[in-house]
């Protein structure tokens, strides 16, 4: 049975969820819960199949993921160089830390009202919300990461003749990488929630909109299906992409102990 350890681990992970599915069906039948309150498994599956067939699931998911990808990539591309640049000097980084803490607290949902006013309802506002959820958190963490590299290490590299470029690529970036990756993971967590909230408020396509639209018609099966999709997508994103990335960087370059 241990010939496929990964398969076995996956099975162990899925089994409780399957159990939950059974429990759900049993509870619905036992208490005779109406479909307006909570749907049964079959109708959720049917709703899923329907949305798959008419392509609406694909277009909603595609829109959501597209927004996340654009906003996140844009934010990462800008925030890492900015964070490194600000973190290099201890004086500058200690001066700016409170500022970025303030803005990373606000990051995400709190920007929805003003984003919709500035950019109108639609792609711009939502991408902006995602962008700044990731941007401030990643910048703040990069800043902290670079500032937490022990100065003796930087001095040692400099006195061994490392130029500016090598200092950047071989000391500063690797040293800050664990923090950067943690920042990306946290930021994307905020961004994902921000996305769902923003889509409920400010658009006409996307997973959040799909849920909120279904609410208008009391179609609980569509809502629950949407929730399952949202949960699964985030779980896949987090467990298969972000968490391994974080673990790998911490193992490889981890000067910071895992908390």
């Amino acid at each position: 049975m241990l010939r496929f350890p990964r398969l076995w681990a996956a099975l162990k992970f899925v089994a409780p969820l399957a159990l939950l599915l059974v429990l759900w069906e049993v509870l619905i039948r036992a208490f005779g819960v109406g479909s307006r309150v909570f749907p049964d498994v079959a109708s959720v599956a049917r709703a899923g199949l329907e949305s798959l067939q008419d392509g609406s699931l694909l277009s909603h998911t595609g829109a959501s993921l597209g927004r996340v990808a654009v906003g996140t990539l844009l934010a990462i591309v800008i925030s890492i160089p900015l964070g490194v640049a600000m973190g290099v000097s201890p004086a500058v980084s200690s001066f700016l830390t409170p500022l970025f803490r303030f803005f990373s607290v606000l990051a995400g949902i709190a920007w929805i009202p003003i984003a919709t006013l500035w950019f109108g309802y639609g792609f711009g506002a939502i991408t902006f919300v995602i962008f700044n959820a990731v941007f401030f958190v990643v910048t703040y963490n990069t800043l902290l990461g670079v500032a937490s590299i022990p100065l003796p290490l930087r001095h040692a590299a400099a006195s061994l003749g490392a130029g500016k470029w090598r200092m950047l690529t071989e000391v500063l970036l690797p040293g800050a990488l664990p923090n950067i990756v943690t920042g990306i993971r946290t930021g994307m967590g905020f961004a994902w929630r921000g996305l769902i909230a923003a889509e409920m408020i400010a658009t006409n396509v996307g997973l959040g909109y799909m849920l909120f639209l279904a609410r208008d018609f009391y179609r609980t099966e569509v809502i629950v299906f949407g929730m399952v999709v949202i949960g699964t997508l985030w779980l896949l994103l987090d467990r298969l992409l972000l968490a391994p990335l974080e673990r790998a960087t911490i193992e490889r370059w981890g000067m910071v102990r895992r908390a």
Partner: protein, 268 residues
């Protein structure tokens, strides 16, 4: 360059004596820049008001009593939700952390429900409870619960087995080991969980207030958005930021310092 350097050294000296100003002074250039951009007329005034207008609207809203009322609503919701989330989350986390079977059974379920995220629950909650306080409380409790459970479980599992065994072999009962070994050992992690939970709960509250919309800071901002009043939106954002700063500096950081120093098994 000389006067600038002098100014900087003055700042360094003064801030070394009064650390409090270190978290205030950095905001001065930002506010000045903001005022300058607003004055320059680069953007229409209605879209990009200056700091003075925001201060003025702060005065009006406090005078009318709207801001204090909404603020109180938001804080009470957050506090009640957080307390309930912790009260549920810590015992559940200890259970999941201690019992191998409970861990195998519940861990994937917990991860999945955390992944769904608070806000995705809003539509169905609105069907169940309508646009009410229950909906908002549910969302916050839900949000706070998962980070607390997951981190408590992690914390309990990170307590070295030797400590547990030592306490047992010195004659401590199971309940006593939980109370005197496991919980203190997990405290730093529980604090991390609380911090994450509050961070998420805070955002969930704003989203819930925007969508459910009866009162609160989130509602204030979205109501202002409907009326096209950028001043009040900005005011709401500043109040939110300041409030978190206070919660962080006066509630979370002291507890964290105390638990970290007293029971710090985990290095931050």
């Amino acid at each position: 360059m000389k006067p600038l350097l002098k100014l900087w050294s003055l700042y360094a000296r003064v801030s070394a004596r009064f650390p409090a100003i270190r978290s205030i002074v950095p905001f001065i250039p930002v506010v000045v820049l903001w005022a300058a951009v607003a004055e320059s007329g680069m953007f229409p005034r209605a879209f990009f008001p200056g700091p003075l207008e925001v201060v003025h609207s702060f005065g009006t809203l406090v005078y009318k009593g709207i801001l204090p009322d909404y603020l109180e609503d938001s804080i009470v919701r957050l506090a009640v939700g957080t307390a309930a989330g912790m009260a549920l989350g810590i015992p559940l986390g200890v259970l999941v952390g201690l019992n191998q079977r409970a861990h195998a059974l519940l861990w994937p379920v917990l991860l999945f429900f955390q992944a769904i995220g608070d806000i995705a629950w809003l539509p169905i909650l609105l069907i169940w409870f309508g646009f009410s306080l229950t909906t908002m409380t549910f969302v916050i409790v839900y949000t706070v619960l998962f980070p607390v459970v997951l981190n408590t479980a992690l914390g309990v599992r990170s307590v070295p087995l030797e400590l547990h065994r030592a306490a047992r072999s010195l004659g401590a009962s199971r309940a006593r080991t939980v109370w005197e070994v496991m919980l203190p050992g997990a405290l730093p992690n529980i604090m991390t969980g609380l911090r994450n939970g509050l961070g998420y709960g805070w955002r969930a509250l704003i989203a819930a207030e925007i969508i459910v919309g009866t009162s609160g800071i989130g509602f204030l901002m979205f109501d202002a958005r409907r009326a096209g009043s950028v001043v009040e939106i900005l005011l709401g954002m500043i109040v939110l930021g300041l409030l978190w700063y206070m919660v962080d500096a006066w509630v979370l950081a002291p507890i964290e310092r105390a638990t970290g120093q007293r029971w710090g098994l985990v290095t931050r």
